[in-house]
Amino acid sequence: MFDICELCEPETLAEAKAIYAANPELKVIAGGTDVLIRMQHGSLAGAGLLSLRNIPHLDEIEMLADGTISVGAMAPFTRIFEHELIRKHVPVLGEASVSMGGPQVRNIATIGGNLCNGAVSADSASTLFALDALLKLETAEGERIIPMRDFYAGPGKVNLLPGELLVAILIPREGYEGMGGHYIKFAPRKAMDIATLGVAAVCKIRENRFVELRIGLGVAAPVPVRCFEAEDYAKGREVTWECVQEIARLALKPAKARSSWRASKDYREHLIEVLTQRAVAEAVKRGGGCCAD
């Protein structure tokens, strides 16, 4: 039994934006796998809910004319990792999607909810960081498109304006084309678990040199981060095992790991290094390179 005072179920996006503009106190609910857990734990008592579930097309995955892959905010993770376009062009996002929870959770949990919830452990976030994804946000007034890193404001906090909805995640062509990628979710369990650390690496390799490398880390700092120092270091370099090791060392730069009862700072930092090595090495392999010494 949930302590809910009202439930709005608009049938169009325009209607949803209008309702939300009129009452920004409403709590948006997508799959509900974060919202309802919070309610069960006693927060959000007496909330009114604005459900996006009845709005058609918000869950669509498509390629736009310029090659951008657009993933609707309401797309559930099962649909994402099973989708033809994702399998073909952004398999690393499929990898992150299938690492989520278990089958039942993946059937209902949406990618939009994963991002808007603002958790640093969100499995799709580090990958979308690495893919240089953009977010399409809309209010009744209009729309704006912002990069992932402008979205995260702090632990559990995202930059959504009052009455604003996330509509789609846009992965531009340069974000994914010709890139090899790998996502490692490290957690005590192999399913139904929260990441102790998430590492996403994507790279473009030519003649066994890094044309480009992008690394996103989850649970390494209060918000998901990119590893720019490591990425800059890699640019143009030949892929060797030593190079990958150095990249992994540099990946620690943006990290602000903290100790909690779940894991110590020391262990998290160790994992950042070890798992970045592994993620980059695998991404290199998938991008057609080789880093065996």
Partner: protein, 771 residues
Amino acid sequence: MDHKIVGKNTQRLDAVAKVTGRAMYTDDFFERDMLVGKVLRSPHAHARVTRIDASKAKALPGVVAVLTPADLPKIKFATAGHPWSLDPGHRDVEDRLILTDKARFVGDAIAAVVAEDLLTAEKALHLIEVEYEVLPHVLTAEDAMAEGAPLLHENRPGNIVSSFGVQFGDVEAEFQNADVIFEGDYETSIVQHCHIESMSAYAFVDSDGRVVVNSSTQIPHIVRRIVAQALGLSWGRVKVIKPYIGGGFGNKQDVVVEPLTAAMSLAAGGRPVRYCMTREEVFIDTRTRHGMKLHLKTALSREGKLQGIHMQVLSNTGAYASHGHSIAMSAGGKFRPLYDFRAIKYEPKTVYTNLPVAGAMRGYGTPQIFFALESHLDDIARKLEMDPIELRRKNLIKLGHQDPLTKNVVRSFGIPECIAKGKELIHWEEKKKVHQGQTGHLRRGLGMACFAYASGTHPVALELAGARIVMNQDGSVTLQVGATEIGQGSDTVFAQITAETLGLPVDMVHVVTTQDTDITPFDSGAYASRQTFVTGIAVRKAALEVRAKVLEVAARRTGLAPAEMDIRDRMIVETSLGRTVCSLGDVAMDSFYDRLLAAPITSDTSANVRINAMSYGATFVEVEVDIQTGRVEVTELWNIHDSGTIINPKLAEGQVHGGVSMSLGAALLEQMLFDSVTGKPLNPNLLDYKLPTVLDTPKINAAFVETFDAAGTFGSKSLGECPTISPAPAVRNAVMDATGVAFHKIPLYPQVVFEKFREAGLLAERSVQHV
């Protein structure tokens, strides 16, 4: 022996009901005008309630009653699911009230609300005003026993529930004369059962004024007694019904929610009240497995012959005794019929702390003891440069061994064969060779561990089981037992025993799966792996009585003597000729309708089983350890048992799968964590408490060495708890084989493993990694 049904894979009687969702569990039943109950819990680990004001809560519309300690009888009662003892000296510790005015752990039940719906009940909880006088608290057994430590219960100095131990031989003399002495410290963490079905009950007062409790319990007859005791009612005024249950693993061999649920109904004028715990409440206020700290000191000859052992155990029982010291005592007796020591000194202490209450959990302390002992034996073997398997083999007791303390006799002893089988199945020698000289960050290793267990509790407690069989007109029979089906498959096994004895197909044995204390034969319930062994004897006895009565009626019909006939596949046959003389159906119809001699064929009997049978087994595992991350994977596992005759191989395998996964969870992932300052639980939910998922569970291989034990029905012995004893130490030993690092505490949680590896200098290897 040539059996038709025993030893076959009879399909579970409840298989279809369960997979189609038709099986009814406690929460599936509804009564008219049903209310819900919720509990207010202490936020402090130790605190006296100085004032409760429930007036605002009572005034909330929809609230029917608010209960506080002042509203309830001041009767202290014991909750453990043991048979009542007529000897006051052997009773469980009576230290509990239904609601307490002194909180002894974070989550202790202070007050309760009965309301029309759950939301109203939850809102009302917030309206109850409680003032506490916060007291200092203790979380570890050492702190609890220290000078000046705060006392949890006034009448237990030093917070010690009991320090009663046992010994035989002269351990000190063995240490003096020993060639070598080894000492080691081992520790296990607090874990929980995590049965799928929550702790749940509902109660009402029926039209006769009796209190009816429907509960998800393993022990309906004991629940009846304890509800009556806690509320000060005459025992016969309470009736307990146990429908299908979704797992218990010992947590429901305890009386947890029923007295409060009954009190809630009484407070609501007898209206039905449901009290179903949330998962968080199950973690906090039911039972846990005792975390234990063990110090082992062992005397050996130079050749590796075990001579004496001194085992000191600190068992952290949390805020109330529950099964208390019985667990440490029971567990300490299990290794004696396995390894041959000349002298043993077993010194356990069970200690109160301000933590959730520890109680019975599959294995009843034995997994903790064997984790320590089997780890210790591997540590010894490594120091002596002996093969760990040889060390064990050299020290096994012999068939016919009699325990000097319990006087139980070993009548079947399949452990040598279990060890040989395990070694062969896992390809021990071959793998040892392959593993030699490993480099890189993934290392494999092999480990094994043995165990012994009992079948029921004789001679410590009463082992009484009841069975009733009624023959129907068609020759089928209806079987009632007081022992409870809790998922382990006991109803199916009882049907097989009955069918085998009566020459019936299993589908002509109808087992009444629900226990109702008004109707059900008396039996103390499901625990101690006693069902097949103890209740099986009662069922067999009832079936034999029915068989004798059938043959008497057949004798009247045919003129043959009963001894000249047998029942085979629903027919009465003349044994010497194999000739059918009449059908069982004819006999049954005579028994109901013969104008002169009609007397329905029934048996209503019980067995007071004053014998025990030791079960044995071993686990063999191969692990792969990721030196860099500290993650341990089980790559191959064999769990091998001597449980006597296996009555149903498929069900036996099911027990192995469940038991092994439970042990692997404790070995690698599971532990209840508490804030060291406040005593608050950190992970009372299934996200943060790392119960393994199916993806974390390796392929579990079961194997059986079938012996025949003269004490058990058709030669059977216990199995239910056995699979959960030896996997954890086997995994620990395999990790030591893989890496050379000895762990002394479970779980081998990745971070802990990483830290130990770094301490041991293993992480310098990192740059050797090949991709």
